[in-house]
C-alpha cells in the first residue's frame, strides 16, 4: 500500500531531489520523508544512494512505481475538477444537487478555478458537506469554506461552499460520458440574491 504522501515523495525523489530538498519543498519533517524513503525502498520502488551527506533515490522497474504516478495524476485531476468526484459521490447516496456560481461558470463561461460551489436541499446540507470532505480526503485533498484558507495552500486545499435551495433545478452537461448537473439560470439567479459568495 502506498498513500498520497508516499506517491508525492516518490515523484520528487525520482526527479533527483534529496531527502532534505523534498522535506523543504513539501514542508514535511525530515524524519517523515526518511520513513517514506525507507518504506519505498523496502517495497522495491527505489534504490537509495548517498552523495556526501545527501540521500538520493533512483527509480526501479517496480509495477508499483506506475501506481505512484497514476495517483498523482488522479489527485491533480480531482483537484482541478472536484465536481466530477463529488457529483458521483452525492449521486450514489441519492442527494439531489446542482453546481452553482464558480463551478457553473466553468461550464458556461469556461472560467475555471479550483472552487466547488454546490446547492443541495436544506435537509441534506450536513450529509452533503460530510460526504464531500470524505470523498476529497480520499484523494489527499482538504476542504474549506473560507477562501482565505486556500491562499498559499491552493494545491492541497479546495474551497467548497455548500448552499441550500428549496427546489433543485438542473440542466445536464456531459463531459467524457459523465453527467454534471449544473443549476438552471433561474436557480442561479435565485441563489445569487440570497448568497453574497455567488455574486460575481
Amino acid at each position: 500500500m502506498v498513500n498520497y504522501n508516499d506517491a508525492i515523495v516518490y515523484n520528487l525523489a525520482v526527479r533527483g531531489l534529496s531527502i532534505s530538498e523534498i522535506a523543504r519543498a513539501r514542508s514535511l519533517p525530515i524524519t517523515t520523508v526518511e520513513n517514506i524513503f525507507n518504506r519505498l525502498e523496502r517495497r522495491g520502488l527505489i534504490v537509495t544512494r548517498r552523495e556526501r551527506r545527501r540521500v538520493r533515490a533512483e527509480p526501479t522497474h517496480s509495477p508499483l512505481a506506475r501506481i505512484c504516478e497514476d495517483m498523482i495524476m488522479l489527485r491533480n485531476n480531482a483537484s482541478s475538477n472536484p465536481e466530477f468526484v463529488v457529483s458521483t459521490a452525492l449521486e450514489s447516496i441519492g442527494i439531489p444537487h446542482a453546481f452553482v456560481g464558480a463551478t457553473r461558470r466553468k461550464y458556461r463561461n469556461q472560467e475555471i478555478r479550483n472552487e466547488l460551489q454546490i446547492a443541495v436541499p436544506s435537509q441534506f446540507l450536513e450529509t452533503a458537506r460530510d460526504r464531500i470532505s470524505d470523498i476529497l480526503a480520499g484523494y489527499g485533498l482538504q476542504v474549506t469554506s473560507r477562501p482565505a484558507d486556500t491562499i498559499g495552500r491552493a494545491n492541497d486545499v479546495i474551497l467548497c461552499q455548500v448552499f441550500t435551495a428549496d427546489r433543485i433545478q438542473t440542466e445536464d452537461v456531459v463531459i467524457d460520458d459523465q453527467h454534471i448537473p449544473i443549476a438552471t439560470t433561474a436557480l442561479e439567479n435565485e441563489l445569487r440574491q440570497t448568497y453574497a459568495e455567488l455574486q460575481i
Binding site: 469556461q110 475555471i112 478555478r113 482565505a148
Partner: protein, 348 residues
C-alpha cells in the same frame, strides 16, 4: 475575447514540458502571470496563455523553431515588448508566450533572476519568479483594462489581493518598492508611459475591495492587512506620480481623513506629502477639511519636480520618522545615500 481560456490541467502539463525543454538546453526561464500565481499556491485558475520569461530570447526562439512539430509560432509582438506566442500542438488550446527578460511592465534584472524560486509540486519542478516580482508585474493591469476588458481587469485585482494576503507580513518591501519604481506602463495601453506607482496608489482601494469580496475577509481584517501593506510599501515609494495623484484627488474627497482612509496612507506617508504641499502653499487644512489652491497646483505640476533622495531624507527627518524607515527610504533612493546615512547613524 476571441482566445479560449486554457484550463489548469492543460496549461500545467504544457508549462512543465516547455520549462523542462528550456532548462535542459541551459536557458534560464521562469513562469509568471496566472501560471506563476498557481505555482506559488495562491490560486489556480484558467488563463489565456502561459507566460514564460527567458534570459536568452534568441536561443529560446531558435530552440522552439527546431521543435516546430510541437510548438508552432503564431504571433510576434512589437519591439517595445519583445515576445513570441506559440501554440502547443500536443496540449490542445495551450498558448505559450515567451518574453525577453521582461514581465509586462518591468524588466528582469540580475536580482530578479537570483530571486527566481524552484517550486517542487507533486508533478514536477517549476521555476517561477518571486511573489514580489509577480505583484509588481501585475500592478496597473486593472487600471489599463477595466474599461475595455472588465472581466480580466477584475481577475488581475483579485490576483494582487491574493498575493497581498499571502505576503503582507513577510514581503521584502525594499525590493518590491524598487521594482514598482523601476516599472512603467502605457496609460490605456496606447497613451504615455507612466510609472507603476501612479497605478498602485489608484488600485489600492480595489485591492482592499477584493480582499473582502473574493477572499471573504471581514472588513476589519481586510483594512488591517491593506494598511499594513500600504504603510510599509508607500513609505518606500515616495514619487512625484503619487504626489500628483493625491493632489488631484483632494477636490473630490475634501477631507484628510477620507484621503488617508481611501488610499490606506499611514501617518508618515501623509505627513510627508502634506509637508511638501504646505511648503509650496498648495493646500490649507482646517478641522480635517483640506482645500487646494488650483492655480498654484498647475504651476507646481508644470515644474515637474522630482523628489530627490536629499529632499526625501530631509523631509522625513523633520517629521521625526524613525531611523529604520529612513534607511529603507534611502535604500530606494540611492546607494550613496545609504552609506552616508549608515555612517551618520553609526557615529551618532
Amino acid at each position: 475575447m476571441s482566445e479560449p481560456l486554457v484550463p489548469v490541467s492543460v496549461w500545467r502539463k504544457s508549462a512543465l514540458d516547455i520549462l523542462s525543454l528550456l532548462e535542459s538546453n541551459s536557458i534560464k526561464c521562469a513562469l509568471f502571470g496566472a501560471a506563476g500565481l498557481g505555482v506559488h499556491n495562491i490560486h489556480w485558475r484558467s488563463t489565456y496563455d502561459i507566460d514564460i520569461v527567458v534570459d536568452d530570447f534568441d536561443k529560446a526562439s531558435e530552440l522552439l523553431q527546431k521543435h516546430k512539430d510541437r510548438y508552432e509560432l503564431i504571433a510576434q509582438h512589437d519591439l517595445e515588448h519583445p515576445s513570441l506566442n506559440y501554440n502547443d500542438k500536443l496540449a490542445v488550446g495551450a498558448q505559450l508566450q515567451i518574453w525577453n527578460n521582461e514581465l509586462y511592465a518591468i524588466k528582469m534584472v540580475n536580482e530578479s533572476w537570483q530571486r527566481v524560486e524552484r517550486k517542487y509540486l507533486d508533478d514536477g519542478v517549476y521555476p517561477v519568479i518571486s511573489l514580489e516580482d509577480l505583484l509588481a508585474s501585475k500592478v496597473g493591469r486593472f487600471q489599463t483594462m477595466q474599461h475595455s476588458m472588465n472581466y480580466i481587469a477584475n481577475q488581475q485585482a483579485e490576483d494582487i489581493a491574493g498575493i497581498i494576503y499571502a505576503i503582507h507580513n513577510k514581503a521584502d518591501y525594499n525590493y518590491l518598492a524598487k521594482r514598482i519604481k523601476s516599472g512603467s506602463r502605457r496609460q490605456g495601453g496606447v497613451g504615455k508611459q507612466i510609472n507603476l506607482s501612479w497605478y498602485l496608489i489608484q488600485e489600492i482601494p480595489e485591492y482592499r475591495k477584493k480582499l473582502t469580496q473574493k477572499i471573504a475577509l471581514p472588513e476589519v481584517e481586510a483594512d488591517q492587512i491593506m494598511h499594513d501593506f500600504s504603510s510599509k510599501l508607500l513609505i518606500r515609494v515616495l514619487t512625484t506620480e503619487i504626489d500628483e495623484f493625491l493632489l488631484n484627488s483632494i477636490p473630490s474627497l475634501g477631507r484628510m481623513s477620507i484621503l488617508k482612509r481611501q488610499y490606506m496612507l499611514s501617518d508618515d506617508v501623509m505627513n510627508f506629502y502634506l509637508g511638501v504641499w504646505k511648503e509650496n502653499d498648495l493646500v490649507k487644512v482646517s478641522n480635517d477639511i483640506v482645500t487646494l489652491d488650483e492655480e498654484k497646483l498647475d504651476k507646481y505640476i508644470a515644474n515637474n519636480r522630482r523628489f530627490s533622495p536629499a529632499t526625501i531624507i530631509k523631509k522625513l527627518r523633520t517629521l521625526g520618522v524613525s531611523d529604520r524607515n529612513l534607511l529603507a527610504c534611502a535604500a530606494n533612493c540611492s546607494l550613496r545615500y545609504v552609506d552616508k546615512i549608515n555612517y551618520n547613524w553609526k557615529n551618532h
